[in-house]
Symmetry: C2
Subunit: 227 residues, 2 copies
DNA sequence: CGGGTTCTGTGCGCTGGATCACATAGGCTG
DNA sequence: CAGCCTATGTGATCCAGCGCACAGAACCCG
């Protein structure tokens, strides 16, 4: 099992979250973490569930979001390789704040709650790393709050697409429905704006996919620098 | 100076954030913290400033919020005695995420950045306490995000007022402008809803002040339980 | 007590986006 | 390849909330 652990430790160190930790800490985390796989569309957990632990994505895409009583969706984030999630409910012991659903086949590492909390108490460097992570999450959410109160649907949509382009490249794999839930508008509104932008040559459209041609124009639409 | 420190330590222990810490840690924090006073309407820091440290409110009210390029306001939170703020920029070393302005005469303790970070590294229990705080902030922001995407202006306004009532009592001291920036709507919209609610006997209105008569009706308006 | 200043109350027109209702078109599956 | 399911495209209509304009009303300060 020792080779396994070493392999896991070196895999972990490719993850930005764990790479800030010293070798010894990494080894101890490797000792408790378990591989976990999700098929596309598989539900990992739902808002309100009790926490089983922390997840680190190796490969794939996870949608973090919620659904209201009428079925309307809000996507908080789309996470990919190298991202961590599930830390809030893990740390405060309360229920999950959102659903986590695989958007495609996804491989993760899973750190069981009990083991990880034990490690956290014995190794302060993990706590510091988590503080960084939570601060980044807070900054992101605050920025999103500002976007929704200050900016139009069009600008918000442009910003969300820009985020996807930045993270995953100029070819964005997302349905208009998904874009809508990211920007907090309806699918129809998304379609109308995308049609305008296509007419202006900024992007081209496919089923479940869009391709950015003119990144500068998209940035202009996103009003980078505003607020 | 020893009496001073002991007095500060015991004052700190009345604050929920510090009360979770052991006496020794409390004493060390007391040794580094300095009293700080703000007059009503005084600006403590602005979004974008570099962090000088962490603040703990003893008495008074601090508005945490931002203003966009056109002067429109967004209030993220109204904090009072026992609340902590300024932790994000402190912890990640980046700039302030929002403005902090005194709404009335306010007394605080100030923990200078450098000293506090030193303490944080040497005493893991502070890190755990901060993790709790950041999780609470995240949960609050996530809930607010859901509110803005799923709920109407009326419901959001009712929820924000309900929060003020819960924290500060049935007589709410806030102008309609301030309520507007809390709910993310215009002042006119706030007024129109308040007039309706007044007509229905749910509350009464004064200049910069409103008084809740029927808390149950307000809760119904806030659709508690929805989402 | 008088004049400014900041709040509140309210009418009215405008509009961004939601909602509804289909038509069409890809892509998967038996 | 036929059928089905899911995603896209688009018109028509509606309406909550915004923006503007202005009239009190309350407070504050000299």
């Amino acid at each position: 099992m020792n080779e396994g652990r070493q392999r896991i430790a070196s895999l972990l160190s490719t993850n930005p979250f764990f790479s800030g930790l010293v070798q010894d800490t990494l080894d101890r985390i490797a000792a408790i973490c378990k591989p976990h796989h999700l098929a596309a569309r598989e539900v990992l957990f739902l808002k309100g569930d009790t926490s089983d632990g922390l997840y680190a994505i190796r490969r794939g895409l996870i949608r973090i979001g919620t659904t209201d009583d009428l079925g309307q969706q809000m996507t908080m984030n789309i996470l990919g390789g190298g991202d961590i999630f599930g830390e809030i409910a893990l740390l405060d012991g309360r229920s999950r704040t959102a659903d986590a659903v695989a958007m495609e086949d996804t491989d993760m590492f899973f750190l069981p709650r009990h083991d990880f909390l034990g490690l956290l108490k014995s190794d302060p460097s993990i706590a510091l790393q988590l503080l960084e992570l939570l601060c980044a999450r807070l900054r992101d959410l605050i920025e999103r709050m500002e976007e929704t109160t200050f900016l139009s649907a069009e600008t918000r949509l442009a910003r969300r697409i820009l985020m996807l382009v930045t993270d995953y490249g100029a070819e964005v794999h997302a349905s208009q429905e998904e874009l809508a839930s990211l920007a907090g508008v309806t699918r129809e509104t998304v379609n109308r704006h995308l049609q305008n932008w296509k007419r202006d040559g900024i992007l081209s459209l496919g089923r479940g996919r869009l391709m950015i041609h003119d990144l500068e124009d998209l940035k202009r639409l996103a009003r980078i620098g505003a607020i």
